[in-house]
Symmetry: C2
Subunit: 255 residues, 2 copies
DNA sequence: CGGAGCGTTCCGCCACGTGGGACGCCCGGT
DNA sequence: ACCGGGCGTCCCACGTGGCGGAACGCTCCG
């Protein structure tokens, strides 16, 4: 080990191992985990046994998978729980009124994390998953949140690498900044096939009493079947109503 | 520490600290965490800082709370993800048809863990929460699952302590065994105010191709407003349809 | 029949988790 | 104004337990 290098701590390694599980995975073996994490097989194996002992992982023969205990603890995370519980009825109304798929997301670093998704029977198969991530600058919810976020956080994203998720993603920093200004004025963000081909979306921020964004609501559908100027007022209204409801409650700590 | 006792390992302590957060909590201080876990304050404080470094916990001033990363990982847990994704449309239909609150739960030890809940506007405020636990013998979903579970697992619960959750909970082992036999014959379990006053529920197991229960669906409502013999066929039908859909797919590892 | 990949076990080394104690701070009661 | 209790934070000598290269037995496949 090169001297001066703060080698990864034990806890970092644990998180690395847990994060190595992908959504589509079921059980993984010690060798596969070692390959994904870059850790010695012996180390991963010992750790997997210890984690299984605690219930964080579950043994299935020789393989190991994420345990139900992680799901239980994950549901108690305040950042999603409080917002999700308050938003659910508004999301339900929004789906009813627009007959489209409704999303609720929060910002985490340079990406959004989807907290809840209400799919609609006839709608497209979207790549978004509850608990999944997506680059903030390439989604409606992401831009809606960024438009009402502290300048330093926005700067960090604008000056960072703006990945081209689809052919129409906004990757020019100047263009993105100007779009955020427009969103700040109008209160609604749009995504015209920027996150995926054939998919459009209108999004509006959920605001704390101090004006900063806690998250965002959105409505998504096929570009041919959904008129953005039609659903935009509905999304905006729902987000305003939710913001007001959150402000009234003594919900306290969301940010 | 009594000699011979294998003092709790570091990982056990980490899980203890994470489990110390209750659903209604937001941020907790080092002293409060030390009190709840029984660990030395110094130890908890150091651990909290390390966990915050990994993103598992988030620092909020001097306090610390469960981090969004835990929610993300929790959503990847296969036991809930595969079942929940497959069940959602059937649950939605069931709510539509019965106009009552629909639950999906799995068995974990002596308790059920709620995986998904579709509330209905006019329904009662139930104590159940997604990711929450409840004694299996005192709920409709619990009894539905137990009726189709391996005898050793059932024995362990029947012979264990059958807590009296409400005044009408089944606490007599013999009575419970006989009820499970009836459920096995009819395919539907009932809960007549056994888990809470004024609440009734009909539940039916989601079965793997081998006949063992993966989880259960239920419909709950006010005892005066919902007729059990009316919703029972609907729950049973939905559960059968879901079981068949899971059997057809190469979903693989659910148990 | 041989090699590749797997899960599992071993063991000497030393990083790092340990926890009692101390410190400065902000309270709220007197 | 004073003081005591609770808080977050920090320190440091101690020794536990994580470390990981290596080796073993196994199964599968060409």
């Amino acid at each position: 080990m090169p001297p001066g290098t703060a080698d990864e701590s034990f806890l970092h390694r644990v998180v690395t191992v847990l994060s190595a599980f992908r959504p589509e995975d079921d059980g993984l073996g010690a060798a596969e985990l070692a390959r994904r994490t870059g850790l010695p097989k012996s180390t991963v194996h010992r750790m997997a046994l210890a984690l299984a002992e605690t219930g964080v992982l579950e043994r299935r023969g020789a393989e190991v998978r994420l345990g139900l205990k992680l799901f239980e603890i994950g549901q108690r995370v305040p950042r999603q729980r409080v917002l999700r519980d308050a938003a659910l009825p508004y999301m339900s109304d929004l789906r009813e009124a627009t007959r489209q798929t409704v999303h609720l997301a929060v910002l985490e670093g340079h990406e959004v994390v989807y907290v809840e998704i209400l799919p609609t029977p006839g709608g497209p198969d979207l790549p978004s998953r509850i608990g999944g991530r997506f680059p903030a600058h390439a989604t409606g919810v992401g831009k809606a949140i960024l438009a009402f976020s502290p300048p330093p956080a926005v700067r960090s994203i604008v000056d960072g690498e703006l990945s081209r998720v689809s052919g129409r993603s906004v990757v020019a920093p100047g263009l993105l900044v100007r779009e955020l200004e427009r969103i700040r004025k109008e209160g609604v963000a749009f995504d015209r096939e920027e996150s995926g081909p054939g998919i459009v979306c209108a999004a509006s921020p959920v605001l704390a009493p101090d004006g900063s964004a806690l998250g965002a609501l959105s409505v998504s559908g096929w570009s041919g079947r959904m008129r953005l100027h039609h659903v935009a007022p509905a999304v905006h209204t729902a987000a305003l109503a939710l913001s007001r409801a959150l402000g009234d409650r003594p919900s306290g700590a969301l940010r």
